[in-house]
Each structure stands twice: as C-alpha cells, then as structure tokens.
Symmetry: C2
DNA sequence: TATTGTTATACTCTATAACTATA
DNA sequence: TATAGTTATAGAGTATAACAATA
C-alpha cells in the first residue's frame, strides 16, 4: 500500500483530523462546526443552503448542525427579507468572540501541521497538489 | 478555507474515494475491502488482528468485513496451528483471480489520479508530503 | 491473568424521501 | 410547480464493553 494515493490520503487526513480533535477537545468543536463558523464569519448573511453546499454538507444534515450552533448561542438564523422561505446565517456577539478564540487555537494546530510538512512552502506545494486532485475549478475567496 | 490543510485534505480524499467507488461499482468493492484483499495477497497467512491493525480497523469491526469476504468466496480464515485462538488469513483460488482483476481495474483508477496530479513525479511528491503528515516512521513493505 | 476473535451496542456521518411554507 | 428548510429514516464507519475459547 506504499504508493496508493487514496490510501495515503486517507491516513494523512485521519492523522490531521485526530490532531484537530485533540486540539479542540476543550472547546467541544468538530471540524464541520469549525468550518461552518469560519464560513459564516467570512460571509455573514449568506443563505443556509449556500453555506451547506459550499462545505459539501447535504442541507438535510445541516439542520441539526445549525440547531446546535444556535443552541450554544454562537450563530443564528434570520428570516430572509425578500424571500421568507430562506434563512440568512449570522454569528452572535458571543459567536464573534468564539471565532476569534477558535482562530487562535486553530493556528496552533495548523502550525503543527506546517511543521510536520517542513514549512510553509511545503504546505503550499501540498495544497496545490490536493487542489489538482479535487479538480478545483478556480481559486475561490474562502 | 483556502489554505487550511485539513479541509483541503478532506476534500481531496472524498474526491479520490468517489472516483474509486465509481471505478469499482461493478465489482461491488469498497476501499476497505480492497485494502484487506491487497494486504492478504501481499502477506498470506498473517493473523486477523495484525491485518486489521495495519489498516487501522478495530478488530471488532473487522469481523463483519472478513465474514463478507469469506461469504463471497474470496478469502478464508484458517485456525492457527500453534495458537488455536488465532486465525490466519488467506485468499482462495477465486480470491487470487479476483485480486488480479482488481489490481488491473485499480490501475485505471490510479492512472487517472496520477494524470490529475500531472504525472508520477507529482504523485511521488504528494505521497512524500502525506507521509510527513501521517508521521510514517520508516518505509514499510506494503 | 492475558489475548484472539466475537457479539452487541451506540454514536457519528452521510444519503434520500417526503413534508411545510413560501415563491 | 419549484424552492428553502425541515423531519424521519436508513446505511455506512467507527468506538467500547463484555464474552468464550485458548494461552
């Protein structure tokens, strides 16, 4: 199994996620929740289904995730003004503070991953290769 | 989410696994089953728990997986001669033929991934970086 | 006592169909 | 009719505890 891309990819992803989970164990934050909060922070007011799709989460599965973030007082849904079917997503005041802390904690984790790779240049090389695998169409803003 | 290693890794892994699943849909073979058959083929006679551990599968979860490979007539358990608690794992005659086919089909998939990456050199660069993330101690033989 | 394989079980993630309220 | 969000549900994948057979 020494040169099999998919296998190596899976093992590396599990290893990185395990470090992520250890890092955020105290904040009770999973990767999916992290990515949702980061995306709402970057694009407040975006529609619920847009956020879900951008993260590759089915809108049906996004509901419980968002319920939990609301229950914890970190994010909120607001009825769309023009289209009353839709919900626009926002961080609460507490959510904004939480995301600041989260970003600081995340940096520890990410620095550790960059160190494992051997530096930021190696990180950039890795991400470029991963983008080729994913077939990223263009550079997005997120 | 443009430079986050864990996120990019997850997306790339999903993309590669989806191609894998499409490629093997006709053979009804999942990545875990593929890896088990490949590992038994490379190391026939190895103990059940050893195979499971090497693939990062809990021995409790390995049972159903192995049951299915046996039911399909591809692999078999044999009682250990010295330690009668253990099972040594082997391919059947049909399993050996199946693995040959499987390897050929896999090559199609892998060539597609290498093409996405831009060639075998890029593939090698990727795997080297992934090994750094995983913290692979030495080169293994699998 | 400890280990191998097993069973039972629970929790997360993911996928689909069907409902509701709006458009 | 179609869409946004929701509910219910089912299937994988994964984790732990406890058991029987054997060491």
């Amino acid at each position: 199994m020494d040169r099999i891309v998919g296998y190596k990819l899976r093992r590396a992803q599990l290893s990185v996620f395990q470090d992520f989970l250890r890092t955020f164990a105290g904040m009770n934050l999973r990767p999916a929740e992290f990515s949702v909060l980061a995306l709402i922070a970057a694009h407040p007011g975006r529609k619920q289904t847009e956020i879900a799709e951008q993260l590759g989460i089915k809108r049906a599965n996004f509901v419980a995730l968002m319920d939990d973030l609301e229950r914890r007082g970190l994010a909120e849904r607001r009825k769309g003004a023009t289209d009353r079917r839709s919900h626009s997503l926002h961080l609460t005041e507490e959510g904004i503070r939480f995301v600041d802390m989260m970003a600081a904690v995340w940096r520890e984790h990410e620095e550790r991953m960059i160190a494992r790779l051997g530096g930021e240049e190696e990180r950039d090389r890795l991400i470029e290769l991963l983008d080729r695998l994913t077939g990223t169409p263009d550079e997005s803003t997120d």
